[in-house]
């Protein structure tokens, strides 16, 4: 299994896109921190950028990579290798290279400008998001045989999590504003890994005071250790479930 991971990582590094992504993250991080005088404020601006860029790059790059590796996958499947190993190796290879790109591109500047617990939580959350969207991308590409359809699905999924979901939640809040929605909101935010990540980092910044009563309820839960651990567990579930479904599909796929 490790051998296949090795070749996947070599292959990804050879395409240089991950390198460009790392550089992009480095430039964004350093410029955000040097534009904002206050590094906590810089962290907040960076958070919003990262929650947008990381899932997008992660899902699009992984989807395209899986489609472009169709030949490679076909070659491997006819060899004495377990399908499970091939698929897990692709997943691990993509996750490792994208997380590494994120660690270098954002982790380094954060270590340099804002080496606080909040900064490290943000780095952790970014790595989680990279891996989660690799998993979702693999699910999208195993379901659709057609490359254009698969990439379209990936973009839609990203759009849903990054924009549409928040819109729906806001709509729900306004419609049901007469009811106490703070507790159900916590569960609903667990349905979107991007929101979950945003809340986890925001509650560690002072800006959470601006979030009103909901913010206070959130802080009561997410701000505690149990809340943090619950968040991590939810993020891990977000990694495992899409990947497990894609693995099941891949095991029975005709190549």
């Amino acid at each position: 299994m490790n051998k296949v991971i090795k070749y996947v990582i070599i292959d990804i590094l050879r395409s240089k896109i991950v390198l460009a992504y790392t550089l992009l993250l480095l430039i964004i991080s350093f410029s955000v921190f040097s534009l904002e005088g206050n590094s906590t404020k810089g962290l907040l601006s960076l958070l919003n950028l990262i929650l947008f860029i990381v899932p997008l790059v992660s899902i699009i790059f992984s989807t395209i990579y899986i489609y472009n590796s169709a030949e490679f996958i076909e070659l491997l499947v006819s060899q004495p290798l377990k399908r499970k190993n091939i698929w897990s190796s692709l997943f691990s290879g993509l996750s490792v290279s994208l997380s590494l790109a994120f660690l270098v591109g954002t982790g380094l500047p954060i270590m340099f400008y804002e080496p606080s617990a909040t900064g490290y939580v943000m780095v952790l959350v970014g790595c989680f998001l990279s891996v989660i969207f690799v998993g979702i991308a693999m699910l999208a590409s195993v379901i659709n045989r057609d490359k254009a359809k698969g990439i379209g699905a990936a973009i839609l999924i990203w759009l849903y999590f990054a924009l549409i979901f928040d819109g729906l939640v806001l709509f729900l809040l306004f419609q049901l504003s007469d009811y106490p929605l703070e507790k159900p909101m916590m569960i609903i935010s667990g349905l979107n890994p991007i929101d979950l990540s945003r809340i986890t980092v925001l509650l560690r910044l002072d800006e959470s005071a601006l979030m009103g009563y909901t913010g206070a309820v959130f802080k009561d839960f997410f701000g505690t250790n149990i809340g943090f651990i619950t968040t991590l567990i939810s993020l891990i579930i977000w990694i495992l479930i899409p990947f497990a479904i894609s693995l099941r599909r891949f095991k029975h796929k005709d190549l």
């Binding site: 030949e71 491997l76 006819s78 004495p80 290798l81």
Partner: protein
């Protein structure tokens, strides 16, 4: 050695394989023939585990292949169209395959690399190769690990006469060693002297599975291609 039991496979509405049962044993050299889209490649892919049949089972050395995967170390497969990762060169692909197949425990058969004179081209990228050269790479990989079973999908398509002759000689040599060889091909006359048995398929169904002698006797023809043509004609008039 390989046993297919009531294998069926559908692609949408198309029945690629329709209740196929067949048995291949050691030392045979079998030609799998039939018109385009008759299910030859699907059958091969099912044996390799690349396509998953809807029903029926495939036994390799009396073991069901579906939970097993190690049996593939005994198969050398040469695909119809060899497709390889574009940004690797020939040498990298070969060494990757050696690495993946734990070749340190095996005796490697690098005869074809020399005969095809591939050693000069080892650092050529696969995306720049011609169809014929790709075909040579596929052949090298199929024979490299000294497998018990060789599955060759249109092996001579796209090869020049010299290389095609080299490959045929190699197939013959492996046949003498008592290996099971499965070949699909359209170019019948080329295979005349290699084959011991013929399997004819049409519309996903097995039409017949005969030895060459039986076939020649039945039709009274000496040439394989003519014998097949005669049988195909007979089938057509039956319908």
């Amino acid at each position: 050695m390989i046993k297919l039991q009531n294998i069926s496979k559908k692609f949408g509405k198309l029945k690629a394989l329709d209740d196929v049962s067949i048995h291949f044993s050691k030392g045979e050299c079998i030609a799998l023939i039939g018109p385009n889209g008759c299910g030859k490649t699907t059958m091969i892919k099912s044996i390799l585990g690349m396509a998953v049949p809807d029903s029926g089972q495939i036994l390799f050395n009396d073991k069901n292949i579906s939970p097993d995967w190690k049996y593939r170390s005994q198969i050398g497969y040469m695909p119809q169209i060899g497709r390889y990762p574009d940004n690797m060169n020939i040498g990298q692909v070969i060494s990757m395959m050696k690495d993946i197949r734990h070749s340190d425990q095996l005796q490697l058969d690098e005869e074809l690399i020399h005969n095809f004179e591939l050693s000069k081209m080892l650092n050529k990228r696969l995306s720049t190769l011609s169809g014929g050269t790709r075909q040579k790479v596929s052949a090298v990989l199929a024979f490299l690990f000294n497998p018990e079973v060789l599955i060759l999908d249109e092996p001579t398509a796209g090869l020049d006469p010299v290389s095609s002759e080299i490959l045929k000689e190699k197939i013959n040599k492996e046949k003498q060693k008592g290996k099971l060889i499965l070949i699909t091909s359209h170019v019948l006359s080329e295979l005349d002297d290699l084959i011991t048995q013929v399997v004819f398929m049409q519309d996903g169904k097995l039409k017949f599975h005969n030895t060459i002698e039986e076939l020649k006797q039945e039709t009274g023809e000496q040439k394989l291609s003519k014998a097949i043509a005669k049988i195909m004609l007979k089938e057509a008039t039956h319908e």
